[in-house]
Amino acid sequence: MRQETVTGLSVERAGPLALLQDAGRFGVRRLGVTQGGPADVHAWAWANHLVGNAWGAGALEVTFGGLALKAARDLSLALCGADLGATLDDDPLAPWRGFRMRAGQVLRFAQPTSGLRAYLAVAGGFRADPVLGSLSCVVREGLGGHDGQGRPLAEGDRLAVGPGAKKGPRGKAVPVEERPDYDAVPRLALLPGAQVAEFEGASLHAAFGQAWTVDDRADRMGVRLLGPRLRCRLTSLISEGLGLGAVQVPPDGQPIALLNDRQTIGGYPRLGALTPLACARLAQCPPGREVRLAAVSAERALAEYRRFRAKFG
């Protein structure tokens, strides 16, 4: 079925990285295809929610800023997540709010002042032909995105939008208590995994007791954390499936938290897995930011996740 779409925005200037993301690509991981989807599912979900979209609609993930978009028609949008110094024409535009663009107006992102990734949703959702069931853009695999080829937005690209939701916007702004303070030191909830027992006691004490620093080797595949060297009795394993948030520890003892574009299998021992919302929070941490790991129970993590999803229907 052909979806009714029209050009909603055109790209006046491409920033370092702007990608179309729906909820992700599922059911094909056994073929070596990664999950994709928004690195910060919390901000992505709120942006879609504000404009009245159902869970899973395509929204733009704008990393670092730099992007400029011009409206081809009047649009109802929402901006959530990082503060990338956005302006509408020349007026400052704060995140966590819905707003309107009139045809011809230009939305510009400068650079991060708080957080790393902003999410721009439009009523009706950004549309593209799905690839392997999803329009999530995975550059490394050349899959998805506005052109289906996994390319980040480039100058001159046009973004299609679907017909606006009938219900219209669900409010003007995200409740204040739902807006994370990206400048605070986050406590990232981690569910310990089976191999946690293979780490030396002192290493476990350090892993959960000391601060970690986000390395500059951080992208949508994973985020490397710098800190005390963790020692594990296992060095490498036979490759096995990796879930979202898996925290693997290579022989150098510096953990890597695996995010949406991670490879599907890998062979390093793991401390456990960050919860989906901890992954979302980590995705807003720039290099140099301090983070802490906090072990949580499956019960608590599940209750938190179900509460989160229940907000979005």
Binding site: V28, R29, V33, I238, G241, G243, A246, L274, L302
Partner: protein, 239 residues
Amino acid sequence: MIPAGLPRLESAGLDGWLVRLFDAIDETNLAWITALVRDCESAFGAALVDLVPSYTTLLVIFDPRVLTPAEARGRLQSLLADLAPDPQAEDAPVRELPTWYDERVGPELPRLAERAGLTEAEVVERHGAVTYRVYALGFAPGFAFMGSVDERLETPRLETPRKRVPAGSVGIAGRQTAAYPAVSPGGWNLIGRTAAVLFDRDRAGFSLLRVGDRVRFVPVERDEFERLGGDARPMEEGR
């Protein structure tokens, strides 16, 4: 057989269990793993989000809004209690990958032959003589890790991976072999190139190869390789 103490269910986060079935790589693992894949598909239904089979394990990802981790664990335990190896695993059709073995598209072919004390023709013969099994897919869409290559051909990965390996490149790493579905970086020793299309987003099923499949590399001359749609451009200018 599944070793003592296994299978074991290991937490893989809020929405996943890693089923550890074996502790070593063996061809006979595959019939058990593919059987469990099939059982999970029928037992979990719409609550199933993804499955990642690999050499000794199966990662099961479920929808945590529908099942709690404890409920998912219970379902897996009852599947494992009745698990039997897939009787059809040994009869899986053999996928043939027509491959042009040549230094121009497989620059490590001479070095691999020298290292093994074989002629290049003997390397090709030994690589093509084995019916391989697909143990895992990963690294890139449709990238199948296959084993096991003749022990004389065992070769460690390149010390410095290439930035750009052309699509179809056939390589060896350790005692595994694989063909690159698309252009990517890579550290495998390249010995040739296949004309087979390993991953196609417009084809039903997308990937030519799946875990458990049987595979043979069939040596072809350059003419035949090109006739089958292979890209014969040498490494430097290859697409």
